[in-house]
């Protein structure tokens, strides 16, 4: 299978994207943002629709703009709302999906866009890989500079502020970064399952670790391993790569849940 160029590209994309998703996922799971990132992923439908309406040949830019605006708005809303914003997220989820489908399905044209729903890693281009490389570098630098501030903010925002952390800046910049990474990866894994790729490695790692270092390390290992195994299996099975990767990661989650019970006994 490695005689094909597209498999080389796909492998490179997996090696770049999976650790990135694992890293971001650790904070998404710690901060209880799982539903939030699902809304971001699904906002891609509205982004594509607006791109089509405005005549963009590549809708990536409108997709990113919609997701970033949504992410920042939800973050602002969280600051002024007392209690959970679960319901608001549910409403936004329904709205962005419905709006996207309504616009894209005019005159029965939705079938053209179903590729976005499940994605295609094998179609990744060297130019896209270049972008992923750049984004991975940005996330690594961000994680290095803001990692501790993010940990403190997730534990107690007031405590973080008493240590000089600008929690609003941290939360906003993190959600913007998250929106960009999720949107640019959608062509690879698809709207339907992109959130699982973000959540599963971190959720699995969390079951079996007791420190931030272990949490991050195992999330990255599980994510890369699921990525490579899923890619290879999808080649032999003739299945969608993104979904196959997610299935492997879900298997890891199940194993970690069982192991975690034993470790915590």
């Amino acid at each position: 299978m490695w005689q094909y160029n597209f498999m080389h590209n796909a492998l490179l994309a997996v090696l770049l994207v999976s650790p990135l998703f694992a890293l971001l996922g650790t904070m998404v799971v710690n901060n209880r943002m799982v539903f939030f990132t699902d809304v971001l992923g699904h906002s891609a439908l509205t982004g594509i629709a607006i791109g089509v309406l405005l005549g963009f040949s590549d809708p990536t830019l409108p997709m990113i703009v919609i997701a970033v605006v949504l992410a920042v708005s939800i973050n602002l809303l969280k600051g002024v709302t007392k209690g959970s914003i679960d319901t608001v997220l549910g409403v936004l989820f329904a709205f962005v999906v419905a709006l996207g489908i309504v616009i894209l399905s005019r005159q029965g044209g939705f079938v053209k866009y179903t590729g976005y729903l499940i994605g295609d890693i094998l179609a990744v281009t060297p130019k896209q890989i270049g972008w992923f490389f750049l984004i991975a570098a940005v996330v690594l630098v961000y994680w290095h500079i803001c990692g501790n501030a993010m940990v403190l903010t997730s534990v107690n925002p007031s405590l973080a502020r008493s240590r000089g952390v600008n929690t609003f800046l941290i939360e906003t910049s993190f959600t913007i970064l998250l929106a960009i990474v999720v949107i640019v990866s959608i062509r690879l894994v698809g709207i339907l399952i992109i959130n699982s790729l973000l959540v599963l490695p971190a959720a699995a790692s969390r079951n079996i670790t007791r420190s931030i270092y272990g949490y991050t390390l195992w999330a990255v290992i599980i994510s890369i391993f699921s990525g490579i195994t899923g890619l290879i299996l999808s080649y032999y099975w003739g299945t969608a790569s993104g979904a196959t990767i997610v299935l492997i990661a879900a298997g890891f989650y199940a194993i970690s849940a069982l192991l975690g019970r034993r470790l915590n006994k």
Binding site: N148, V151, S158
Partner: protein
């Protein structure tokens, strides 16, 4: 009563905080001297935590908060803050070493804690006999253990003003007297001012130098026993 340097370190003048049309704090005036413990009691919703959050700079306010440090009236003080509780998922894989290292160093904890930072973390925790908790997950700690860890973090670097939010909640009697003892030692040793928000009337009476009864505005202020007597007379449930 402790011998303090006598200088007023923190002064709050006509502090008013409003959320919309709702007044949470109304023209509150108070001061804390160096080495002094000021207790704040009051019913739920009296604005006690809002007062601490305002001093931390989280809440917009009208009025003035003035600090006087080493003769200068404008310098921003170092504030140590011990929150009432942590608002995170208790099963999170965050260890005591992680949270301490994240607070006292810039080197990112997700890459592992470097040996020199780990040594510093141990020495910080040992201030409050908490070094044995190093590898425990924060979510597994008892109320008293968590407070010792948070106090150790708040004391590093040594602050000018220490804010304690409800240290009595979730802590048993023994843990609480250990906590008060530690804070008492600190203010004597470092001459720091302490503002303590609490529901524990018995404990605070023997510990604070002065007490304020707050219910959106200041109802009574003075010696702990006098304030508590007034609270009883005014029938304010604290």
């Amino acid at each position: 009563m402790v011998n303090t340097c006598g200088h007023c370190c923190t002064k709050v003048e006509d502090l008013t905080v409003k959320f919309g049309d709702n007044s949470i704090l109304d023209k509150v005036n108070l001061h804390v001297n160096c080495g002094e413990v000021l207790g704040i009691v009051g019913p739920n919703g009296a604005g006690k935590t809002t007062l601490l959050r305002t001093i931390l700079g989280e809440v917009p306010y009208q009025g003035r908060i003035i600090y006087r440090l080493e003769g200068s009236a404008s310098k921003k003080p170092k504030i140590g803050y011990v929150p009432q509780k942590l608002q995170f998922d208790l099963s999170s894989p965050i260890s005591v070493a992680d949270i301490t290292a994240a607070a006292i160093s810039h080197y990112p904890v997700w890459g592992g804690i470097k040996p020199d930072i780990l040594e510093k973390v141990k020495s910080v925790l040992s201030l409050f006999s908490a070094e044995h908790l190093l590898k425990r997950r924060v979510g597994e700690l008892s109320g008293g253990e968590l407070q010792r860890v948070l106090l150790a973090i708040a004391m590093t670097p040594e602050p000018d003003l220490l804010l304690l939010d409800e240290p009595a909640s979730g802590v048993d009697v023994k843990g609480l007297s250990l906590f008060y003892q530690s804070v008492d030692d600190l203010r004597k040793k470092y001459d720091i001012s302490v503002i303590l928000v609490t529901h524990d009337l018995t404990g605070v009476a023997g510990f604070a130098d002065r007490l304020i009864l707050l219910n959106r505005s200041i109802i009574a202020e003075g010696e702990p026993k006098d304030v508590l007597a007034k609270a009883g007379n005014k029938n304010v449930a604290v």
